[in-house]
Symmetry: C2
Subunit: 158 residues, 2 copies
């Protein structure tokens, strides 16, 4: 093969010896992909729909009724101080109740209301359609592979 000369025209622009390429980094690609998915999520849920984190919180409350705020924050990977506003919003919309727990007067268990369960089911359907349409150029297999790889990353850092 032809030998590559180290010095050439524009050598001063190539002293590093490699072409920098932002696209090689997983972090950058993850972020760009997430921005797209998140924007489409918001578009799909509309003006006064749920923000992603509120949807996530409601999902977990429906799935795990009587979860405490600390427990929910832990599951979501955020601080419990940050969860207060989220729970305030969901309670304000009548989708869950803070309830007393007999054994421990510190905690307030989060219980979805019937409306909360219904509204969540609708929102979940909307989110499913949003993901199906946005990711329609990925096969079922590809989506499963993506989930598995993301799960591997999550397994490292949590």
């Amino acid at each position: 093969m032809a030998s590559l000369r180290k010095t050439d025209r524009h050598a001063e622009d190539e002293t590093l010896g490699e072409t920098p390429d932002l696209e090689e980094f997983i972090g950058y690609n993850l972020k760009r992909a997430y921005v797209i998915v998140q924007a489409d999520f918001r578009r799909a849920l509309g003006e006064d729909g749920f923000a992603p984190r509120v949807f996530s919180a409601l999902s977990l409350v429906v799935q795990y009724p009587n979860v405490t705020q600390s427990g929910l924050a832990r599951m979501l990977g955020i601080e419990r101080s940050g969860l207060v506003a989220i729970v305030d919003e969901l309670e304000g919309r009548g989708l869950l109740k803070r309830t007393n727990v007999p054994g421990d007067r510190r905690v307030q268990a989060l219980v979805p209301t019937q409306k909360g369960k219904t509204v969540y089911a609708e929102a979940r359907a909307t989110v499913r359609v949003h993901e199906e349409q946005l990711l329609s150029n990925l096969s079922t297999d590809e989506k499963a592979t993506l989930m598995a790889l993301l799960a591997k990353i999550r397994a490292n850092g949590e």
Copy 2:
């Protein structure tokens, strides 16, 4: 197989007929994975290292010297107003210069300094190590697959 009765104990908790599961959503998994990668990026680059977006901007300026701010903002997918602070920081650190362009007095082309190229090369090496270590439980193939799938998502939304 045994028939499933629709009404049973706890029927009121299962009127939706399906187990909600946040983990089924790509968006949620993308976000959780990104949070982990981003946090490790910052840890790896240290106290006064680059924020991810500043690193990205510098990378593109090194790769595309004389890019305009508008062009750079477009590549990064952010507003040009948001880019000003990023370029200010890089210029303040002496890593690039805003330079006049003969033909068009509106634009200021961004040119990396020699220091900028050197510092970027070091930072890039650090970021590579960070990703290699953080994602050490993914094979080379798996990483390539992940990149390809993320690229497919990006292709949809950009």
